[in-house]
């Protein structure tokens, strides 16, 4: 069955430390890949997305993600975390190659990030 897995439900990191959030997918072909963030009281905001090409993708707020086909992974990273990065992060996919206009996102369970001062 097609699925998206975020193995870590919670991660606590010190301010200034690096952060890596894991995402694995199980699909027949490489899907389109997304990372969203939800800060308290806010909607989901797109951090970055990957469709093809360079496997290292730069996003907003200093985040980047690396696509690894061999591992079916799309992990999100930030070199130095700020207190404002405390939020919930979601990995999501859309099956590639669909010609219909738009398509539904399938989400992982989310990872909640706590930032210690």
């Amino acid at each position: 069955a097609q699925s998206v897995t975020q193995p870590d439900i919670h991660i606590t990191v010190s301010e200034g430390a690096s952060l890596e959030l894991r995402c694995n997918y199980s699909y027949g072909a490489t899907p389109y890949l997304f990372w969203y963030v939800q800060s308290p009281g806010q909607g989901l905001q797109l951090l970055l997305k990957y469709f093809s090409g360079d496997t290292l993708v730069q996003g907003i707020k200093g985040f980047e993600a690396e696509f690894k086909r061999s591992q079916s992974s799309f992990n999100l990273r930030k070199p130095s975390v700020h207190w404002s990065d405390a939020a919930e992060y979601f990995c999501a996919v859309v099956p590639a190659g669909i010609k219909a206009a738009g398509n539904k996102l399938t989400f992982g369970g989310g990872t909640r990030v706590l930032v210690k001062p």
Binding site: G43, Q45, A92, A101
Partner: protein, 114 residues
């Protein structure tokens, strides 16, 4: 430019009552999606409109849920009658034409059924 807006932000109702959630997409976005997150679970797709037509409603849990998008603008999601398991956060998103276009999400409506 205004983002996706949703109303109300919170709703608390009794089991058996009716609730209507509203979503206003970004102007010009033909695609409108509804998603739901039940407590402790992942965000799940409910349905997808292209303009006023339902493109995919495979995620609608049952016939107590009715979604409409009159004139291809705003959308409503009605739950009638509400059950306890309907509690959760309902998100709306909109996008332009292609599958690769970003879906922009609203802040969500938190529904609590008592």
């Amino acid at each position: 430019e205004a983002g996706v807006t949703q109303f109300p932000s919170h709703s608390v109702i009794e089991k058996g009552q009716t609730v209507t959630l509203r979503c206003d997409p970004i102007s010009g976005h033909d695609n409108l999606y509804w998603y739901r997150r039940v407590m402790g679970k992942e965000i799940k797709f409910l349905l997808h409109f292209v303009k006023e037509s339902k493109q995919d409603e495979s995620g609608m849990p049952n016939n107590r849920f009715l979604a409409e998008r009159t004139g291809g603008t705003y959308s409503t999601l009605k739950v009638q009658p509400a059950e306890l398991e309907d509690s959760g956060v309902y998100f709306c998103a909109s996008s332009q034409e292609r599958a690769t276009d970003t879906q922009y999400f609203g802040p969500g409506t938190r529904l609590t059924v008592l």
